[in-house]
């Protein structure tokens, strides 16, 4: 038997669905009501991004990426999966990238926000991450503590940021800025798939829409 072909996706997920959803609850139990502040920061970032205040809009989510890196991945997720620590460092790298972009203005898209389809898609993804994602768990029968919130939990932080960079950035910088959020959403989607959660489909759908927006924006900016 070929050793590698005998592995299945579930062989790489060392915890059960119960443990994963309790992890989300534990984050909420520990940090509530910080959620209100992180959501307010998310909404402020979206408004600033749409008003061309791009540098400050890049800066605001950076501390939230660092917070999720430490509080979610390094302190909690890594207890369950040794790879969690490395994902935490990747989230810190994303925080630093956002700071660099804010300081240097690298890749900032100065074009009008009104006429661009990628901006519409980016706004929709951002609103989805900020408003719809926190409602998904309570609406599907879970507790409010299982609600995933931007700046507290990893998935809505990655989704919202994916939408924001689609609005704010262009060219090579845009592609660089989506690498870590997109890779995490792939990993998280596969994890949820193993755990038999419908959240996997949602994440893959967001990724597909974001990819269309990225390609569209890249083609648009070459014209």
């Amino acid at each position: 038997m070929n050793e590698w072909t005998s592995y299945q996706l579930q062989d790489f997920i060392p915890f059960t669905a119960e443990v994963y959803f309790r992890l989300l609850e534990r984050m909420s139990e520990t940090f509530w009501p910080l959620h209100l502040l992180t959501l307010a920061l998310g909404v402020a970032t979206l408004v600033l991004a749409l008003r061309h205040r791009t540098r400050i809009a890049c800066l605001l989510p950076a501390p939230l990426w660092a917070f999720v890196a430490v509080a979610f991945f390094i302190q909690r997720y890594a207890e369950l999966n040794w790879a969690g620590g490395y994902v935490g460092y990747a989230f810190i790298a994303q925080a630093m990238l956002l700071v660099v972009m804010a300081l240097t203005g690298w890749g900032i898209d100065k074009a009008s926000r009104r006429t661009s389809l990628p901006v519409v898609m980016g706004t929709a993804i951002t609103l989805f991450g900020l408003i719809i994602m926190p409602l998904m768990a309570p609406l599907s029968g879970g507790s409010w503590y299982q609600a995933e919130v931007f700046g507290i939990h990893a998935n809505p932080t990655a989704v919202t940021t994916l939408g924001l960079v689609l609005i704010m950035l262009r060219g090579f910088a845009l592609w660089i800025a989506v690498i870590i959020p997109a890779l995490w959403l792939v990993v998280s989607g596969l994890t949820l798939q193993v755990l038999d959660s419908s959240g996997a489909t949602v994440l893959f759908a967001v990724l597909a829409i974001a990819l269309v927006g990225l390609v569209w924006k890249s083609i648009e900016s070459r014209r």
Binding site: S6, P14, F15, V19, R22, L80, W82
Partner: protein, 319 residues
């Protein structure tokens, strides 16, 4: 004549009493036997590794199920599972440094419950966990909060030559009791066979269940011949076997109930495994006390005969 015999001879049975007794005996023989045995019989045990020591045929695995981190709610829930395991006559608990916080969770449970006499603590060394085999064993003992391990295995054959040699030294020094090697999913069976033939090991852990029976060809006969204990992992094929049977609403055959006391699919699948003469124990994993109880009941007699085992495998293939 002793007073006891004198006493007995005073109570002669009349013909009427004899007829009543015969009638009662016949009625008792017609009752279904399985539930009676399940309630009164103990867990079946098997000797292992050429010793006269015995292990209960149903052990417990901890992959995925015991990796709960520092979640106090889930730590207490898993402690209840461990408590039920030992209350139902359990012995071997198997873990690994690859299983995240599972060794710490066992430590939490043993600290809360005390260390039961029947505990047979089985761990593994695994190169990616870092440190030498000695360092890993020392760290794992602290995490489990035990003074020694009954068995330490080389996980998935990683650097097995180096690790096995160190583990054998530790066994000779008396710091651990038995050594072994593990594989799963049918991987690297030819290398496992080579190690079983050339090395002095007490246990081999491998995947064996009703749909994955490759080990029957060479490894299980070799284990019997060499007196090596066999731990069967993935008895439910990672849960998919029992899930599929329940999803299909497959009927548990009546003959399995009558012949080997299979009241549940857990009975059917686990009895099939542990009734193989070479298998020392199976290690199903669970998060729920009720499922644990089902698993433990499967270790009670009656066990399927060789003919019944063939019938069981054919039945699953036919579904």
């Amino acid at each position: 004549m002793s007073p006891l015999i004198k006493h007995r001879t005073k109570h002669r049975i009349t013909r009427r009493q004899s007829l009543t007794l015969i009638g009662a005996t016949l009625a008792a023989m017609m009752l279904p036997t399985a539930p009676l045995l399940a309630n009164t019989g103990g867990m079946r045990q098997k000797t292992f590794a050429g010793t006269d020591k015995k292990l209960p045929v149903i052990g417990m695995g901890t992959w995925r199920t015991f990796n709960v981190g520092r979640d106090s709610t889930l730590l207490d829930a898993r402690t209840e599972v461990v408590k039920a395991f030992f209350e139902h006559g359990g012995g071997l608990v198997d873990s690994s440094p690859m299983y995240g916080s599972a060794p710490d969770v066992m430590g939490y449970a043993l600290q809360a419950l005390g260390t039961p006499e029947s505990l047979f603590a089985a761990e593994k060394v695994w190169s990616p966990a870092g440190g030498s085999a000695r360092e890993q064993v020392t760290e794992l003992k602290e995490r489990w909060k035990v003074e020694h391990f009954d068995l330490v295995q080389v996980h998935n054959l990683t650097d097995w030559r180096e690790h096995l040699s160190t583990l054998q030294e530790m066994k000779a020094e008396g710091t651990l009791r038995h050594v072994g090697i593990t594989t799963s999913h049918g991987r690297r069976h030819s290398e496992i066979e080579q190690i079983m033939t050339s090395e002095d090991i007490d246990f081999v852990q491998l995947t064996y269940n009703i749909t994955h029976r490759e080990a029957e060809n060479r490894l299980l006969p070799l284990a019997e011949e060499r007196g090596i204990g066999v731990i069967a992992n993935r008895p439910y094929d990672g849960g998919s076997l029992i899930k599929n049977l329940k999803r299909r609403d497959a009927p548990l055959p009546e003959w399995a109930k009558a012949e080997c006391g299979c009241d549940t699919w857990a009975d059917f699948l686990l009895k099939f495994i542990v009734s193989h003469p070479a298998i020392t124990c199976a290690i199903p994993a669970t998060t729920q006390v009720e499922h644990l109880r089902e698993n433990m009941r499967a270790g009670h007699t009656p066990m399927p005969s060789p003919n019944a085992r063939q019938r069981m495998a054919a039945y699953i293939e036919s579904l």
